[in-house]
């Protein structure tokens, strides 16, 4: 069970309090009607699914209810940082320095 630091509660909490929300930074178009079918499919369905660092969404559903993003390694499952929804994608190198990895 993951231990996830909620950036709003500022406290690590067990995974069962959270709901996973898929890959992060896939923004909905401001004008979806202008999207091609291929671009729409890309938005709806295509994911990077990397073997490595993954930017992903979580909701602290049984806690503060807020959505936020986490950076987790998909092989070690290690989370090196979380940040609030809407904040820019953090620099991975910075995180790794801070986490000492």
């Amino acid at each position: 069970m993951l231990l996830i630091p909620c950036p709003y509660c500022e406290e690590p909490r067990p995974e069962i309090e959270f709901r996973y929300g898929g890959e992060a930074h896939i923004a909905r178009s401001a004008d979806p009607t202008g999207l091609s079918d291929a671009a729409l499919a890309d938005y709806l369905y295509f994911r990077s699914n990397p073997k490595g660092w993954h930017y992903e969404r979580w909701q602290h559903q049984s806690g503060c209810g807020r959505f936020f993003n986490a950076v987790r390694h998909t092989v070690t499952d290690r989370i090196i940082g979380t940040y609030k929804a809407g904040e820019p994608k953090p620099d991975l190198a910075l995180y790794r320095v801070r986490a000492g990895s």
Partner: protein, 416 residues
């Protein structure tokens, strides 16, 4: 040497010294007509059918680890074909027909055992959904019948049908021809048969890059054992498909999740069939060895760790203990995980890709084992001819653009 009782008897007298390697541990050649990435059941089956039915024998099957070591060797071996969508019915029934003669085809006892698969209904919504399956299956000529709770218990005596269960059993759909098979034997049987037809199975050979020519078409793969030229490449890498496809610059509509399973200690026969409950997430059968084989759920998040959280296993056992109260004192012997690649509509992708010469067979999610022979068979035809086999045709990558999804999950999982 052919596998037969006679030869076993003769070898018993000779101290079994006469059995040769079941497959050649091949060294990679410089070039192949077809390179298949991934020596799981689906990849090996693809190679076998390419060689056996399409006369293409200059094939390499590349495996980064040991063959059959991914989901083929980690699943709960359930076989059934009672799917809802017509496209799925065709695909899984095609596989079912191949299962019925597979031991004979491969001269390898894959222990296909049609012991019956019961799918339980716990509420009115389940009943409607299962009956819809039954009617659709009957139309397609696929066996699937409705049992009352009492009939279901007669078929599986340890099933708890008490009315005061939190989610009582209200009935079940039974596919008699559904059942189980021995997962390792499927990989080994295909490997042996393919190897005999000249296919090179190359283990410990990890693909690190896919090379494309000036025309954009695939040319070769770079591997941990050197460059291998290929006219066509078939990616059958299950949970790692996204990673391999990224080497060709393609993003896929896939997410990889850890899927857990567990077995009990072996006990004398107590469970005569397979029972599945989608509503409360419990799947159980008993292996020939006597272990109760139990499928658990996927963890919530994308991961390539072949391990998951304890809460997933405990949640499954909660359901198992309620449905099968006599198992409560039995013990969990081993709990493991695999990585399953899941598509948005929970149906596989079989076919061509935007890259010429590059083909993909993936997205089997939690249920790929049952399709192994059918998947390999239609993918081999697709690779051989460069156009989708008619059964594979609906399972294109393009359906995510057009919206023509084959959504088994949506059809079964929405409650009101």
């Amino acid at each position: 040497m052919r596998f037969s009782f006679g030869n076993l008897l003769r070898q018993a007298r000779a101290g079994h010294t006469g059995w040769g390697p079941q497959w050649r541990d091949a060294e990679p050649k410089a070039a192949y007509d077809v390179v298949i990435i991934g020596a799981g059941g689906h990849g090996l089956a693809t190679a076998y059918y390419l060689a056996a039915e399409h006369g293409i024998c200059n094939i390499a099957v590349l495996e980064k680890s040991w063959l059959g070591g991914g989901n083929t060797g980690r699943n709960t071996t359930i076989i059934r074909s009672n799917y809802l969508c017509e496209e799925s019915e065709a695909l899984y029934e095609h596989a079912m027909k191949l299962w019925e003669t597979l031991s004979d085809t491969l001269n390898y006892n894959v222990m296909y055992s049609p012991r019956g698969v019961l799918m339980l209904a716990h509420n009115e919504h389940d009943i409607r959904s299962l009956k819809r399956h039954i009617h659709a299956n009957r139309l397609a000529g696929i066996d699937n019948e409705w049992l009352t709770a009492a009939q279901a218990q007669a078929f599986c005596p340890i099933l708890n049908i008490d009315a005061d269960l939190r989610y009582p059993v209200l009935g079940a759909a039974l596919q008699h021809r559904g059942g189980v098979a021995r997962h390792d034997a499927v990989a080994w049987g295909y490997a042996r048969a393919a190897s005999e037809l000249g296919v090179d199975i190359i283990q410990n050979c990890e693909v690190t890059a896919i090379r494309r020519g000036t025309d954009g078409a695939v040319e070769a793969v770079e591997t941990s054992r050197g460059r291998i030229a290929a006219k066509k490449i078939g990616v059958v890498a299950a949970g790692h498909t996204s990673v391999v496809m990224a080497m060709a610059g393609l993003r896929m509509p896939l997410e990889s999740f850890p899927l857990q399973a567990l077995v009990s200690e072996p006990v004398k026969p107590v469970m005569p069939c397979v029972v599945m409950s989608n509503a409360i997430h419990a799947y159980m059968s008993q292996s020939d060895k006597g272990e109760l084989v139990i499928g658990a759920g996927t963890d919530a998040y994308v991961s390539y760790a072949q391990a998951g959280g304890l809460h997933i296993a405990t949640h499954t056992l909660e359901a198992i203990c309620e449905l099968f109260p006599v198992t409560r004192r039995l013990k969990m012997l081993r709990n493991w995980g695999g990585i399953v690649d899941v598509t948005p509509d929970r149906s596989p992708i079989i076919g061509l890709t935007p890259v010429p010469g590059l083909f993909v067979n993936c997205g089997w999610g939690t249920g790929g084992f049952k399709a192994t022979p059918g998947s390999g068979h239609v993918f081999a035809a697709t690779l051989a001819h460069g156009v989708p086999h008619p059964i594979a045709a609906p399972f294109t990558l393009d359906r995510f653009r057009t919206g023509r999804l084959i959504d088994e999950a949506a059809a079964a999982a929405v409650s009101h």
